[in-house]
């Protein structure tokens, strides 16, 4: 599948649209006239690891903000499994199956690792549901399972505040995993990690990819090469290049603005 086959007619009418998990089309957002994201289109397949790279201020984080509803688009559309996301609330987008990890580890310092994971368990999300939520065997087993995947099985009773930086990043990835999203968006998941932690994180991402797509923003080129199926390069709010890491690396436009430095 490539960009030339994109549906130009209304979404929902074209069976080809089923092939994409996420279709971002002509997405634009302007902040006081400044177009942070300008006419961006890209398409993510099921089970794909897509990495977005680009210099600072290219609009990478803004694209994730737009997809998860934190920022409202000025124009354009974001279709996830045939559903228009730009009209949904943040919590509805999460419930549709989109999970988002923030750039700095965003975890609950005052709660234990277990409680951090429990809050992300996708049940009892209404006020009443949260009040009557029972910590039953299914919840415990799932939390233990995920804790094992994110290398935190022995830290469940610890307050999250006391984890190392890398462990906090993993905890947040675990909090997303427990939501079981079909589209997982990670903003710089290995920033500030040690080499050993990076390797473990790449291994973790390759393991959790089964049955879902991952959209990653990352600066670490070695890490990008390790995990990316395809790479989208953003520059000044526009898509500069797209394709395999090999292709992107040899694209003269990319070399000029980004990799050549």
């Amino acid at each position: 599948m490539n960009a030339a086959l994109l549906p130009s007619h209304p979404i929902g009418a074209d069976p080809a649209e089923k092939d994409f998990l996420l279709a971002v089309e002509a997405l634009t957002v302007s902040f006081d006239g400044f177009k942070a994201v300008n006419d961006v289109s890209f398409y993510v397949d099921p089970n794909e690891i897509r990495v977005i790279i680009g210099p600072n201020g290219a609009g990478k984080t803004t694209v994730l903000d737009l997809i998860c509803g934190r920022t409202k688009a000025s124009s354009g559309s974001i279709t996830y499994k045939g559903q228009e996301l730009t009209k949904l609330s943040e919590s509805a987008i999460v419930q549709a199956g989109v999970g988002r990890k923030f750039q700095t580890p965003s975890i609950y310092d005052d709660l234990t690792v277990f409680e951090n994971l429990e809050i992300s368990y996708p049940r009892g999300r209404s006020v009443l549901g949260a009040l009557t939520f029972k910590r039953d065997a299914a919840v415990r087993d799932r939390i233990e399972e995920v804790a094992g995947m994110i290398f935190l099985k022995d830290h469940l009773a610890e307050r999250a505040e006391f984890l190392s930086h890398g462990q906090k990043q993993w905890l947040e990835i675990g909090m997303l995993l427990i939501q079981d999203p079909e589209l997982l968006m990670l903003d710089e998941p290995v920033a500030g990690m040690s080499v050993g932690e990076r390797i473990k994180t790449a291994e973790l991402l390759n393991r959790i990819i089964v049955g879902r797509s991952v959209l990653v923003i990352e600066h670490d080129m070695k890490f990008v090469e390790d995990i990316a199926h395809r790479v989208t390069v953003l520059h000044q709010g526009k898509v500069l290049s797209e394709g395999s890491m090999e292709r992107v690396k040899n694209d003269p436009k990319v070399i000029e603005v980004y990799l050549g430095h």
């Binding site: 999460v94 988002r100 609950y108 234990t112 277990f114 009040l131 939501q179």
Partner: protein, 382 residues
């Protein structure tokens, strides 16, 4: 609050931990045994009045301590609960034979003084006790729901929310004072006599009301404890910490904040109704900015993260207020302000924080001598 536990206790989520049961037993012993045995009827009634403020402090622990939503307008809800109860009691005290010297018998005296000749429509349902008891809960809850939804949906929080709640307290005071004919004005609703025929002014009635108040307070503590240990309680703490993370974990943050605000309002209203019953009147001086801030100080002094601490803080501050304002009436407010600054700067977790940092580690060390478990104290959020 949470200390490293052995693997078997990782998933345990008991209703109360042993130390919390001890705290509850201690508080119950003081309320139901020590105070009634040690105090004369007048002082016990005073203690009952203080304990009615403790409901407000309890609500603030949930709303401010756990949820990080500082309301400087809890007097509004205390007042709404108190006024609902006072309206019922006033109507009962304004029977035709009690008010036969008025130009319009059968309506509250202050209405008669203000040349009102018929009972206003919104007073009429308060002739019914069941309606009043429901209204004590529902009116403040609805008001908090409207205010909370309007604010939190628009993501108004922090200082702005505190300022708006304070403005609401000021507005309600002005409204009550200004609409003298309907509300009793600055004097409030006074000369309350009977509750469904039972004279509430006698010592024995004060005594019974004191115990009813204590029982309701314990019930509210238990409900607050239920909320605290539920996932909702942990979501409140999580929201205080990282609101966006909660939002992007699929929760409607506004809904949870509104719930915490409404619960705090209902607690405050129960306290207000019990205040009216025990003190025998309700006036705008319990609604405005100053009482609202005082109520925040109770929770701050006691410890905004501790349900029991809030009750102790209320008792302590009010005891100090009574003692010092009897001797140095003009200095008391400075003392109160100084106390608040001291607590915020030196002991951000209040009395409960001091207890947890200095007393509890010694107690547990003595209990299990060889074990030296590090105690982790939850940090107060900004």
């Amino acid at each position: 609050m949470i200390r490293p536990a052995s693997p078997s206790t990782v998933h345990d989520n008991p209703f109360m931990k042993p130390m919390e049961w001890v705290s509850l037993a201690l508080l119950a012993a003081v309320i139901f045994l020590v105070l009634p045995l040690c105090l004369d009827a007048f002082r016990l009634n005073l203690a009952g009045k203080y304990l009615s403020y403790a409901f407000v402090a309890l609500g603030l622990v949930i709303c401010w301590g756990f949820g990080g939503i500082l309301s400087l307008g809890q007097g509004v809800f205390f007042g709404l609960g108190g006024y609902c109860m006072a309206m019922y009691l006033k109507l009962e005290a304004s029977s035709v034979e009690n008010t036969k010297i008025q130009s319009t018998p059968g309506i509250p005296d202050f209405m008669d003084w203000n040349q009102i000749t018929a009972l206003p429509w919104f007073w009429k349902p308060f002739a019914s006790l069941p309606f009043t008891l429901i209204a004590v809960i529902v009116v403040p809850a609805l008001f908090a729901f409207v205010v909370g939804t309007a604010m939190f949906r628009r993501r108004v929080g922090g200082t702005y929310f505190a300022i708006i709640t304070q403005a609401i307290a000021a507005i309600l005071t002005i409204l009550i004072v200004g609409q003298q004919g309907y509300t009793g004005g600055i004097n409030g609703i006074t000369d309350l006599r009977t509750l469904n025929g039972w004279d509430i002014r006698t010592d024995s009635a004060h005594n019974i009301l004191y115990f009813v108040n204590g029982a309701l307070l314990v019930a509210c503590i238990l409900f607050a404890q239920y909320v605290k240990r539920s996932k909702l309680g942990r979501i409140l703490v999580a929201m205080r910490d990282k609101e966006d993370r909660v939002r992007f974990s699929g929760y409607s943050v506004a809904g949870f904040k509104t719930f915490a605000f409404c619960l705090a309002a209902v607690f405050a209203a129960i306290g207000g109704a019990m205040f009216t019953l025990q003190v025998g009147f309700m006036s705008p001086s319990f609604v405005g900015i100053v009482p609202s801030i005082e109520m925040v100080i109770y929770a701050a002094v006691g410890g905004r993260l501790s349900l029991f601490g809030a009750v102790w803080g209320t008792l302590l501050v009010n005891w100090a207020k009574t003692t010092f304002s009897e001797s140095f009436p003009e200095l008391w407010l400075f003392g109160l302000g100084g106390l608040f600054i001291l607590v915020v700067l030196a002991f951000p977790n209040g009395l409960a924080g001091i207890y947890r940092t200095y007393v509890e580690p010694r107690l547990t060390r003595r209990a299990k001598a060889p074990e030296s478990a590090p105690t982790a104290l939850p940090h107060a959020a900004e």
